[in-house]
Symmetry: C2
Amino acid sequence: MSSTTAKSPDVSRRSERSRKAILRASMELVGEVGYPKLTIEAIAARAGVGKQTIYRWWPSKAAVLLDAFTEVVHDEDYSSGLPDTGDIEADLKYVLRATADEFSDASFEAPYRALAVAAAADPELADQFVSRLREPGVRVYVERLRAGQEAGQIDPDLDLDLAVELLLGPFQQRWLNRTGPLTHEFTDGLVELAMRALAPRATPR
Amino acid sequence: MSSTTAKSPDVSRRSERSRKAILRASMELVGEVGYPKLTIEAIAARAGVGKQTIYRWWPSKAAVLLDAFTEVVHDEDYSSGLPDTGDIEADLKYVLRATADEFSDASFEAPYRALAVAAAADPELADQFVSRLREPGVRVYVERLRAGQEAGQIDPDLDLDLAVELLLGPFQQRWLNRTGPLTHEFTDGLVELAMRALAPRATPR
């Protein structure tokens, strides 16, 4: 009995180590070889596990990658909510600057681009990408804008989903289509311009 | 002498027919097989020309495709300027509705997506894509907004390049990332929201 209870945490620790190694390997590899050439075999080899270990936990390479990104995003991207200092323009500037910095980090950017490119080419993967990664990201922006409405800094009649598209679409286009650099000057200017659309109207009509 | 002058127009007509067949074939094929699998051989076969004919005029498949899209865009996409009825909001709604309709046409959408996906994965192709196709498109929007400034409908202090990103980024993101449908309701709402940012400020500050 005591040997069993002593063993369980070890097994669980080993599993958790394997799981993290697999997720990390999947992100590294997709950034190196792209999504089409990514294989479960290569992920297993890089993570130092048997490929059956991966198949026991995930049905496909897409599922592994979506878990990997979900974990990164949950760790780093304010999944518990955007900052709320009471100044929505300052908070949005802070978050978009941090996001621009994250996209300047190749260890994040390369795998994320590989997944975004694959999703743009593959409607089924796009569905999963949108529901697993994009929608939760949009939610935290919508919630921050809703708090801004309550604070009188955001127009109470606004379609908040469209407002988030107005804020994030230009960033996303610059990044994915490489139409310009993701500088803080750009993100600050984008927030300032978008806030003109999102703020309560100056004159009633 | 008379046989030479009689022949030249024929040669020129045949060349023009071949050129158009090649451009059309390149767009059809890239939509069918994607950019990575597109070959000059397959374009030549579909167009009914020898592959040397293609290599005489273009250095690469990217060059063929960029010419093909440039021609389509020049024919259909207001390269001579956006409509100017004097009402900028109405004109932008009209143009974005028409663009949404164009992106709902698979014969345009499939090849354009294939090229955009390839450009997202390939910085060199992205450079050409941006300078050959995107920049001229942005120019006509900037010019229409500048006319709007002169007409007092657009803020005279605005960064017009950023303004175009605010207007087109959300459209582009919905399309390429498949985050929502490109309906007229969406494009109208986007123009209305963006115009709140672009219009002259209601109160001086």
